[in-house]
Amino acid sequence: MAKSRWFSKPAGRNGTTVSNMPEGLWVKCPRCAEIHFAKDIERNLRICTKCDYHYRLHANERIALTVDDGSFNKIDDHVVSRDPLGFPGYPDKLARAMSSTGLTDAVVCGEATIDGRRCIVSAADFDFLGGSMGSAVGERLVRSMELSVEKRLPFVLFTANGGGARMFEGLLSLMQMAKTSAGLARMERAAVPYIVVLTDPTMAGVYASYASLGDIILAEPGALIGFAGRRVGNQDMGMKLPDDFQSSEFQFRCGMIDQIVHRRDIRNTLSTLLMLFAEEDANAQASA
């Protein structure tokens, strides 16, 4: 069937569907509604050529954009979540997320270089159950942190976790907030740099744990970043919310973010930060 050729995109990605048009060839910008030739968007780091909207990236795309070609060595993707609660529908959801994304859970971690500087990198994938944090995500992140401490390599982490803690794993997923923060307490004590890049979306249990604990916190422009959804706690009280509530720009204004960095500048900013940290580290070691 000729049509199947057009359906090459993974399902669920934001802004990619244009009704009455073959999927995959054209995309409609969720912000300015402009219809683009998909290839143009791909060539532009998946940023809208008209309004600068940053489309969500898959974890693998994010890593490819960030690290030196061929430098990424994936770790721990054989760690997978179980279904500890016997939660209705969870095994099916996990299986579907795996087959639609080709990933084994919502974060991809590995060792890589950025401009030749070694680091541990982690990127989340929103299309895997909303990027939510279950036991596998917690375990992979803590292993990455432990590896960072052991090798004294900076940890660079990209969020994209609209789901927060994964409710299908109940209390165990809530506790991943503590587990990841425990890992970061160790990094803090060991003085190994931890750099967070907040991308769309970063919410709830993820934002209220490891995403807020970066030594440096960067964010892409226009990302949704916040504690609880717009409706929770605000509508009932008739509170007027600013138009940019829970955006990168809002969080920056509130003092929660060091810099908002355009996607095309993220690699350079990270490279410079790694250089600055490394210089400090070298001096510290020289004087020790």
């Binding site: 375990e139 409710m167 209390l171 165990l172």
Partner: protein, 350 residues
Amino acid sequence: MLKPLLDFEKPIAELDSLIEELKRSAANDERRREAEHDNVDIESEIARVEERREQIMREVFANLTPWNRVQMARHPMRPYTLDYIQAICTNFIELHGDRINADDPAIVGGFCQLNGRTVMAIGHQKGRDLKERQHRNFGSARPAGFRKALRLMQLAARFRKPIITFIDTPAAEANLMAEEEGISRAIAYNIQQMFHLPVPVIVAVIGEGGSGGALGIAVGDRVIMMEHAIYSVIPPESCAAILSEFGRDRGRASEAAAALKLTAQHARQFHIADCIVPEPLGGAHRDAAAAARALGDVISAQLLELESIPTAALLDERYRRYRAIGSWEEIEHAAVALPLPSSHVEGPLS
């Protein structure tokens, strides 16, 4: 007399008022004479009804559903943090303020004595009447509350005083102001810093363990749960409203409560709670003094245990405890493996 607040408490409350009525009669000379005249022995009648009440309570409380547990955890008559502190500790001096710009009444804390030694007690505080409930923001803490709690924990740590936290919150505050003041960062930072506290930390979940708002003061070396307390990643109402499995219907919260496995018994199974403190029959609110005694005894015993552990080992053990939490497995061929349902928790480190 306790008002029948929950459906399953109604038959008990009816017998409560009958017993009260009988006791009033027993104290009234005229009524006593009438009863004697009718050959009724009020004392044995009271004993009979009390026995009946006990029997009904045993039946009701042996068969609580997960949703009933949620109702119990939120029971408006339940003892709150300050009730427990007043009952268990002496010389409590409440300490206020985050030293930045606010004091959040949804979290209370201060130095006090437990068995004659100084400890820091901190907890979420709900209100009893409408006015106090609003004042306490229903136990939902703002960033200032978490910052105050951390200030008090670090103060205690500096003077080598153990810390006891009482958990009882539906969730952290999530409104515009909380977001502006950095609620997420406040919770995250507390969780992280609690791993550095060089003193024993005991966590007692006395009512609602409401997700991040609970965890923000709940990282410890021992986690105790009261029998009818709950601990959950999300309120069952919200879970039901989100998931198609429950028809995206808040009204099906009881099903979500069952699916979330949020009872103290489940927390124990998941190795997140170390022990469960049995409550008086009918719940802590039916005999708050007995509930506090039971909790106080467990805290005292655990404190004794923890105080013998050297600081480095204590911190190491705290790290390992949380490091091990989760239900995951390692598979060989990542690309083809599908997860299997499992009824129990497994992890190489647990």
